[in-house]
Assembly symmetry: C3
Homo-oligomer: 255 residues x 3
């Protein structure tokens, strides 16, 4: 803080267990990652190397070192896991994780179909060696998962060893927990919240109105993900009531 | 200019009093600011450190020095002023400005309610030591300010000492002088123009069609703000008739 | 590739004659261009310096050297050609190209009207010294060009010496080969494909759904352009079936 403004909402210190911000890296170069952490490391807990980008970026090792030294936990997006699994290459996936010294791993079934018992086994197996974030929800716009199934999947995946469960929204923010216009699927989100500890859920919220909605309804320490690099600090101002949308929400004596 | 193309519209030299471009910095790191000024300083007059980001960015002093040395005037966004005022901390706000050697300051009431006489007093007081940009218009989409009130607020704020008055549109460009779909509120803008010297108004115009509209209606030297970093040079090509949208508008013998 | 995942679709080696990705540079600074090529050079064939930005960017020569050394072919956007032509300055345009050692040049008539025989002469003349990309299609939303005319223009421009023909869509992706909502003009695209060798066409496809559409309909080696800098690697993951949208499209035994 460059000035101690009183009455700001409290944020836990890093490394945080809740109040998490996950940034989505869609293929930044090493220098872009350096520039990013220089300004944003204090406000970034997790970085997802989106979809299969980790296979393509030159100097992946250098980029991962930059995140590591900045205290930011990087992991490969779930689509990469799915690209290995659909080829029957689970062992090769683990070799890839280990070659780059990954500590975190995402398990998802947003694009391919995996029997849920198998997904739970992957989570159980991987959680012995890595910190697992698992993702629930389909990337396919028209594939409707009943609310009760969302909840039971999330519960069993946490029980199987997942550290956090991610609620799918894609980079666009128009599927999963959102309607096609990007507005929140209120009943689904309310149902999830009723049956699960909110600190274990990380909500994908790429659009600013989605971030505002979650902060107003779940508090400033809600876990949010799929945040664009340039939106990490703006999100932090939303959490702290330092932006118009939330300025009046966190005052002790708001009008 | 890398080639002297004849018959381009004239732009005043920096430091400019009109024909201003204000870039919105939402939390760039020091290196990102360095990269920005390297390419864009000749075309950037003002930089707004949006909302409360100045409190959060590491190395704020280093960033401000980069802008200063590049001849770009940085100031803290009005929401920061409001965050101090609603806490009753006007003196602390001035201390914050002085600690960082700020020359420019923004006064606004886009989110909190300030009696207009009080706002004028803040402008009067601050204009003794700083160059004041004041902002008129609410960030709240449904709060309608009558056109006559827009005009009288702008007039009195200039009389109170504001150097320029900003017409609010938010980062999104969907409130204030714009309708919810981002189109211009024609009657309001026309009324403002009739009663005020256009060179004293800085229009927030984050969306490209808004920039094109103002350049076509108010000329290439209209003051425009809330421009994203990557849109500063594209905006300059619009001003100079070097982009499809305005190529035919500034020719001496356009077809 | 940071891991040899089997059964990925084959991409030709650079320098490529098809499977091209053209990035749109809207005025990046020298350092931003450096950062870009560090991560994206293997996946970028062409860079268009959009509209008239090349006239405005400081250190144009340094930027062009960065692209050159990275094996990326830069050229000035067609609007710049039009800005010279409408002033009757064809010779000056060539002097400008030569001053900066340009090897590629774009010829277009998206904004100004040029009789097609004249456009063909420009292409013929320039193709003696440069590699010419010509662009077909109007930037004006309401200007409808019949499908047969699109095809005959493309054919004759290739015959006149153009290396590739670009199908116009603007930076926004809402004109030319797309409808106003950004969806593909199916009949037009199908007609073009029927009458021309697809490897000679470069489709402007700035929006992700447009990129997905072309990859699904024309294969992973379709030539695509007007790609934002941060979308070049995401596009490559689409081409390789390493993103949800295309993961199941390129498997040997997709379900």
């Amino acid at each position: 803080m460059n000035f101690e403004l009183p009455n700001l909402p409290q944020r836990p210190e890093k490394p945080r267990q809740y109040g998490l911000t996950m940034m989505m890296d869609k293929g930044m170069s090493v220098r872009e990652a350096e520039n990013f952490v220089e300004g944003n490391a204090p406000y970034t807990d997790l970085v997802k190397l989106g979809f299969g980008t980790s296979l393509l970026v030159p100097s992946l090792e250098a980029k991962l070192n930059i995140y590591r030294e900045a205290g930011v936990h990087a992991y490969f997006g779930g689509t990469l896991f799915e690209a290995f699994i659909i080829r029957g290459l689970f062992d090769e996936f683990r070799r890839y994780l280990d070659r780059y010294g990954m500590e975190y791993v995402e398990v998802s079934d947003g694009t391919i179909s995996i029997p849920h018992e198998d997904k739970l086994k992957y989570i159980e197996e991987l959680s012995k060696e890595y910190i697992v974030v698992s993702e629930v929800g389909s990337k396919v716009a028209n594939k409707v998962i009943p609310n009760t199934q969302w909840i039971s999947m999330m519960k069993t995946e946490l029980e199987a060893g997942a550290w956090k469960v991610i609620a799918e929204a894609r980079e666009s923010g128009t599927t999963g927990i959102y309607n096609k216009d990007g507005s929140a699927n209120l009943q689904l989100i309310e149902d999830i919240r009723t049956h699960l500890d909110a600190s274990n859920i990380l909500w994908e919220a790429p659009q600013k109105p989605q971030q505002v909605w979650f902060i107003k309804h779940f508090g400033h320490n809600v876990n949010l993900g799929n945040i664009a690099p340039s939106e990490v600090i703006p999100l932090e101002t939303l959490r702290l009531g330092l932006r118009g949308d939330t300025l009046l929400d966190f005052l002790p004596d708001a009008e």
